[in-house]
Amino acid sequence: MISAPDVVAFTREEEPADEPCREPPLPEEYSVPLCPFAGHGANPWAKVASSKFSRDFILISEFSEQVGPQPLLTIPDDAKVPGSFDLNYFSLRIMSVDYQASFVGHPPGSAYPKLNFVEDSKVVLGDSKEGAFAYVHHLTLYDLEARGFVRPFCMAYISADEHKIMQQFQELSAEFSKASECLKTGNRKAFASELEKKLKDLDYTRTVLHNETEIQKKANDKGYYTTQAIEKANELASVEKSIIEHQDLLKQIRSYPYRKLKDSDFHPYEPECALDQASVGSDQDLATSDLAEPGETNPYSRVPSYTPKLIKAKSAKCFDKKLKTLEELCDIYFFTQTLDQLHQIERTFRGDVCYLLTNQISRALLKQQSITNFLFEDVSFLGEKAPGKQYRGCRGLSQDATDRKCSEETPAPKVVISLGSYKSSVECVPIKMEQDIEDPQEPAMTESITFEHQENLDYLDADIKGSISSGESIEVLGTEKSASGLTKSESQASLPISPSPQVGRSKVGSRRTISEDSIEVLSTCPSESLIPEDFKASYPSAINEEPYADDEEGGLRFTPKLSPDNADEQEDGSNLENLAQVDSACCIGKESPNFLEPLPSLGQKLCDEDGVVRIPPQPYRQAEQGLCGSFASSPHHDGALGGLLPHELDSRYPAGGREVSRTSLDECSDSTSYISSAASTCSDRTPSPAHPACLANERHKKKAGQNALRFIRQYPFAHPAIYSLLSGRTLIVLGEDEAIVKKLVTALSIFVPNCGVYAKPVKHWVTSPLHVVDFQKWKLIGLQRTASPAGVNVLHALSRYSRYVSILDADSKTLRCPLYKGTLVSRLADHRTQIKRGSTYYMHVQSVLTQLCSKAFLFTFCHHLHLPITDREPEESVVNRRMNFLKLHLGLANEDIKIVQYLAELLKLQYIQEPGQGVNPLLRFDYVPSFLYKI
């Protein structure tokens, strides 16, 4: 039998772009097809390949009172993007969902027309025939000339990936709400000024009319009124009335509740386009043109003096006049702002959902380890305003109900302790391996589940519509083609508009009945994608309160803790208890071993049997009961600190399981590498997944990762070199050719821990002799070697300070540095790694380093490892305890200890640093002999 790594070795991998040469083809029987769709260059997660558009885009449509639904613009504004996709048809579809267009006009009780400040409605809509799924955000804008003063619009995020829409619903909703709020603010401004103009017109008209009547009065003092005069008087009266009406409207629009503006996270004025400039590609010109506009159209610079016009008594027929365009409806500043925001949204949500989710998860996790982040994480990445900040929103739709339940029952432990807020992210990445992923019918199933769930709500809907629908309601509107077994859906299918619109309409003058969180799935799924049996099996149980608890077929998604987790938990628990007992010498972990709540490990969770990840990671859940909970519940801090430890005992790694976990890790990184490569083969479909701010960064990472990969493959002494960097010994890359040196420096820079929150201590190119100050400041230096006398000085300085540095000679391919015999670096940089892609390798490094950071964190913040428990305790016993901890608990061997110690020093320095005062750069070193490595 061939073991897994061997198989992997023969898989067909996409070669890095700059290595076009391919190995000779393998015999057919050895090559393993990676994915059934691989030949088509498809993303294995993309279930529908039938969509007609090439990538996600945003569509703005209007329900015009003259011509009906019509598309207005798309973002990106490129005809290629929608392709053959029928925008008109889709506009019709998305506009038809907005059954709640609010009523504006004369409400029965009031004399004047009343404006409604309507909440936007948000709808998820699917059209599997078109292969399009959309998040649709309906909003209404005010237009004095429109019927009822309102113009219904909608913004839709259209994607071929249903999961993306579903799982990113909260984020999409939040982002679109911002954009919509911005647009509406501009619209209110425009509306108000329009009203003002109109009032001026009316005022003018009134004066004119008044004058005319006066003249008429004077001209005819016969004592009776001519019809003309009566007409004029009527006209005057109507103008008067109109003035009052318009004044009232103006008052109303000005009294718009600005509560929203006070929300801290709501900044309609904030130009969020600063980052856009960094964006590249097709958006460049767009973004820049957008950026240019606000400058030249400063809304405050021009205050036009308005010359009022006479208003004709009879206004033109509504079909004669030309309706205002969206641009005219909105203040131009806000309009461009909105467009910018929409571009931003488009960029943010570009790419595969898996990528987005992983990003969000890692962000969420990184947020929790604020103390160690500075070491290896990109500070700019952390500092930036992430779109996925509403982590509560990261929940997938299908999990929504459970999550809600879960979070209601067990409120998320509040992380008050900055120390406690640290989660060892390596062990507790809550990536779920679902059991049902092998199921080929998985798409249908998830759909069915959402359906069932929604139906459940629908069912309730019928009775207590009002109360339910004001919350988060999910509705299903089955249509003509849906499954025959679905009786209820069918009944709904007969009314394409669900009962709620009527309810909505009947509540005249109030806010939308179904407010912010309503989610609808309008599905026109062809029948084959639905499995009637599933519905039959699960539908009755949908009425129950615990709908899927005992449902074996469809219920897996709804059991909050999957069985593997539990098994793990028990296993881990026993494991840890054992360890805790074994280690009674150490003061820790004894007091409360029972609150140890093990977390699923990365290696085991990521891969199923065949080692290929088939499911995108599930969204990160804040309510995850992890370390925070256990930390908060521990009796006192010593115990808590001790209690933390066994998580980090890393029992699987050192105790025989190292090899296994390593291979699994390699495997999964490999498979992810495959996936990303597969994803990029169909890059036309999912264009470069990148967060706008990190685009350049991303590229750098990829490059650095690729160079690093090459480095560890080329240089057999990569390990001691990396060890030098990790242990804080400055590594000097010496060479004649600047490009080669810089390349090596870039490659190695991913292993350099940061000393502070500033830039990495990496100097790419130096030509002058080095001083001790340089080693204090820089941990990785590219140094020029020249034959000139100056070059001799450079070398002389280098040999003088040789005890502080490791020297990698790029020309003669030698390395002079201390010996490394640890095991950590070999996991980090295995020259036989199957990882092919730079970005994948970068992520691999990042994850190993994060694990390392967590060890350093534990080591740093364990009181008794550094300070005596009692006053009388001799220093030696503390030292013994410390070494014991490093060796036995953290599973560190030989030089690995120095790495963790160095990181711990950095953490200490960072933590005790007074704010506003930079870290005193100090140079730590060891008196250890160096050796010369040659290829």
């Binding site: 120390l419 001790v772 204090q776 300070y801 040789s802 005890r803 550094h866 320095l909 730590r924």
Partner: protein
Amino acid sequence: KSSVQTIGEEQIQNPYTELLVLKGHQDIVRFLVQIDDCRFASAGDDGIIFLWNAQTGEKLFELHGHTHKITAIAPFSSSDASEEKNHLILTASADKTVIVWDCTTGRQVQKVSCFHSTVKCLTVLQRLDVWLSGGSDLCVWNRKLDLLCTTSHLTDAGISALVELPKNCVAAAVGKELIIFRLIASSDKSEGWDVLEVKRLVDHHDNILSLVSVNDLTFVTGSHVGELIVWDALDWTKQACECNFWDSSVQPDAQPEIKLSQSTNETSVQHLTSDEECVFAAVGKGIYVYNLQMKRVIACQRTAHDSSVLHIEKLPNRQLISCSEDGSVRIWELREKQQLPAEPVPTGFFNMWGFGRANKQANQAAKKMQENTTMHFLELVGDLIGHSSAVQMFLYFGELGLVTCSADHLIILWKDGERESRLRSLTLFQKLAQNGDLQLK
């Protein structure tokens, strides 16, 4: 080819595994002076005095006042034990002024600028609560900076060194001569002093470079041509004299080229230090240990450095630190000679590589000492390399570390990494407790 002993990269006994570079000076830093347990001052050719915290390396004050380079610096603490100790420092500069600084506030207390020449040395006589300035003449000042008395013009070259002797006497090195002055309470004024030249000693053949008091009974002088004279502090008689011991004939394996290359510069006694039983002399490139009882050199390291040794100091733990023009600082340990089975090792061969051969070289050194009929030997236990130019001086701060100053404008604070790490942990947990992060809310 240098025969300087090297130690390699493995230095188990070297505690200094952390360094902090203190930047501030813009010219050669020549002087370091300890103010109290955790503060020191540095001064040099840029005329600026910096006050530093020896623990954190924090720059406390930057004292501007002199327009020329600093020529002498002395701490001047108030002797009043009852009130809070007032730390002052005296600095003399080539601009012919002396300034008194307050170390607590960083302010200039007073400035004296009535000198005829540059003051080259400053000595504080705590017992008499006066201080002396030595230039072309010797002046006596009280705490309020009143000039109490002065000698006549002695020499243009000026007094190069001053040392306090018992019975209100001071010894001043003036060129080749050693002049003994005595301070006599003046008859007319209540708190005045008169200074009187008591004796002139002309035993040295060249300029006296170093002058150090060993104990109440003895003081030692060293001259440019390498004479070391031990004097009786009471009657100022010559107790012992060690001339040209550096190229003594007791050196059987002295290579001829070394002898040839020995210019006077290489034999000058640059600096002297002592403990109760020994005088440690920095002579040229070497270090010599002279036992006062035995009246002979008991241990030596002929070429301790690549270049002249500028400053040496004895630590309490039988260790000796030396710094040199070659930019390095070396830590030596004075060891009893052991009867080693002399293993014939081909020496000098491993020097070229210089790693991992510390033991063998130690053996070799030991063997040399053995042949030198000395009972002790100096073993190199560590070296500190950081400065890129001559290390002018250093200051040993006990467990706080070691401060070195150099011609490369830098001051380096060398610290025990283990201790620092422990202290940081302590601070960290204090801060945690202070932030309330340890309490559960």
